[in-house]
């Protein structure tokens, strides 16, 4: 099929952009891997589960509004499209997506413009026992709760650092899980220096704090999980206090019995599609201008892909991107005054995001504390010891570590182990090149003629010759 704008990702940024562009007469295809729009933030349980999900209260009104607007819009929603590559071709861009849960067939969406609203994923630094069943990412616990109304256990510890831990702890508690502790490595004494930037976040945080209190969730700040225990599944975690410089304070270890650990150390943007398109990255994020344009013609980006900043920022960026696309596809320059309110939110939220990022750095010296026998790369089962040995063989960067150890060569292509490898080796974490954003059956690649989807209207430009 051919459209004006293909929006990749139906989370807050993608939804806002699709609606803003469609409202201005742009034909929009909203492409997303999930069965229903919403992304991670507005993830909803399947209709069959018969209840509204555990979307944070403050997000519910926004979701209701977006859902209604989407239903009334002309946006062509294409769920269960797993985009594996976006290709620049003469005359536009082609989005290649594997269809449905089967992912055995690929379809093309051709567009004059593409908006990358690909979101982010959580990072977890390695520690002994982090591969045990029952240890999940904080966001994973939340996703399973929101989408499936299930929890990983009866007694949970929520640990790590960052603003995600609060809603996860309160969400699990509200779902009936006993939350044995919320373990946050950040020292609250560091909060005042960021108070101004985070002023807007305080009511939300206060709401979570009240709920933690109501559910009697003990909060341990300046603490960290040092080990997860269990043979074939989690039975408990050892937590310990942190010294000012980030090392574990000896003698403070204590065991918390639990059958679930939800752990997270921040998030990283999904930049694979952008990187393969040739978009410039700024650190780990897709670089964009004031209109959310990347440096590749026809490609915009918004939301977590341009830097982790939360739903409010994503909505603002998406809105601006959608309006920019609408103007640019008509050959006109947009007037930024038209989106001044969104730009104000964007500025405020970026400041807050920077403050949160500074506040919630994972403990320094993390790598020093990882024993040699701890698995670093979960896919290829590469241990910390093997990575350290690679350093003695002349590896000075994460790519060479990968070549010499296979850490990062497995199914997840290093998404899970890269932060751990960087922490352990002291090599700066650099985004990997992943030309395939997800695995692609060789049969799909081998079939040179991409079949159009059954409901596609024929379009003169949708024909593709042998490539």
């Amino acid at each position: 099929m051919r459209t004006d704008l293909a929006v990749i990702g139906a989370g807050p940024a993608g939804l806002a952009a699709a609606l803003a562009a469609a409202r201005r007469g742009i034909r929009v295809a909203l492409v997303d891997a999930a069965p229903r729009p919403g992304g991670q933030y507005f993830r909803q349980p399947a209709p069959g589960l018969g209840t509204e999900g555990a979307v944070p209260r403050h997000g519910r009104r926004t979701w209701t509004r977006l859902r209604a607007a989407l239903a009334e819009s002309a946006v062509d929603v294409r769920p269960e499209h797993h985009v594996w590559c976006v290709e620049r071709e003469s005359g536009g861009l082609t989005v290649h997506a594997l269809l449905g849960p089967e992912q055995r067939e690929s379809v093309d969406v051709r567009a004059d413009a593409v908006l990358l609203a690909t979101g982010g994923y959580e990072t977890v630094l390695p520690f002994p026992g982090w591969t045990l069943p029952g240890v999940v990412t904080a966001g994973g616990a939340q996703a399973m709760l929101k989408g499936g109304l299930v929890t990983p256990g009866r007694t949970a510890v929520v640990a790590g650092t960052g603003p995600l831990l609060l809603p996860v702890a309160t969400g699990l508690a509200a779902a009936g899980v006993r939350v044995a502790a919320l373990v946050e490595s950040t020292d609250p004494a560091r909060l005042p220096r960021h108070a101004r930037a985070l002023a807007g976040k305080l009511p939300e945080a206060a709401g979570y704090a009240a709920r933690l209190l109501r559910h009697r969730v003990p909060v341990l700040t300046r603490h960290t999980v040092v080990r997860a225990h269990g043979e074939d599944r989690l039975t408990g975690v050892t937590v310990a206090a942190l010294e000012a410089e980030g090392r574990v304070r000896p003698g403070t270890e204590r065991l918390l019995p639990c059958d679930a650990l939800a752990v997270g150390h921040g998030m990283l943007p999904h930049t694979d599609l952008a990187e393969t398109l040739g978009c410039r990255l700024d650190g780990h994020a897709v670089a964009v201008d004031a209109e959310q344009r990347t440096d590749v013609p026809g490609v915009w980006a918004a939301g977590e892909a341009t830097g982790i900043g939360g739903a409010a920022l994503a909505l603002a960026e998406g809105h601006i991107a959608g309006r920019s696309v609408a103007a640019r596809l008509r050959g006109t320059a947009p007037d930024p005054h038209d989106w001044a309110p969104a730009a104000r939110i964007r500025a405020r939220e970026r400041t807050a995001a920077a403050a949160l990022h500074a506040l919630h750095g994972p403990p320094a010296h993390w790598g020093d504390g990882v024993p040699d026998d701890t698995v670093l790369c979960r896919c290829e089962e590469v241990t910390a010891g093997a990575v350290r040995e690679a350093l003695t063989l002349g590896a000075g960067d994460t790519r060479t570590v990968k070549l010499l150890t296979r850490a990062g060569m497995g199914w997840c292509q290093g998404r899970m182990c890269a932060p751990g490898v960087a922490a352990l080796t002291g090599c700066p974490p650099t985004p990997s090149r992943r030309p395939f954003a997800r695995p692609v059956p060789l049969g799909v690649l081998a079939a040179r003629h991409d079949r159009p989807t059954p409901h596609d209207r024929p379009h003169p430009r949708s024909e593709e010759g042998p490539s």
């Binding site: 849960p101 591969t131 399973m144 299930v150 929890t151 009866r154 509200a174 979960r378 899970m416």
Partner: protein
């Protein structure tokens, strides 16, 4: 492994996990169905034979790979359960030989 909201049991259907029946609710992923049944691991690793289950929960980490209806390497956190699904612990690569 609790189900915080009780759903309409009449709509439940059955799948099997390693040969034993497991109740599933429509719309749940295979991972959610297994969690609801108290099952947290359904894969063993290639080298160490270690058990694995859900980690990231959003399709990024590939730790929750499982064999469904004879097809290995499916992400349990993404694939919706369907009536009669035959779910098996995926050992190693999941491919025979």
């Amino acid at each position: 492994m609790t189900s915080p909201e009780s759903a309409d049991a009449a709509r439940a259907f059955e799948v099997t996990f390693d040969g034993r029946p497991v109740e599933a609710l429509p719309g749940r992923t295979i991972a959610a169905v297994l969690w609801a049944a108290g099952i947290t691991s359904w894969r063993t690793t290639r080298d160490g034979g270690r058990p694995r289950g859900v980690f990231c929960g959003i399709g990024v980490c590939f730790d929750c790979l499982v064999t469904v209806n004879g097809r290995p390497g499916r992400r349990a956190c993404l694939v919706p359960a369907r009536p009669g699904d035959v779910i098996r612990t995926q050992e190693g690569t999941g491919h025979e030989d």
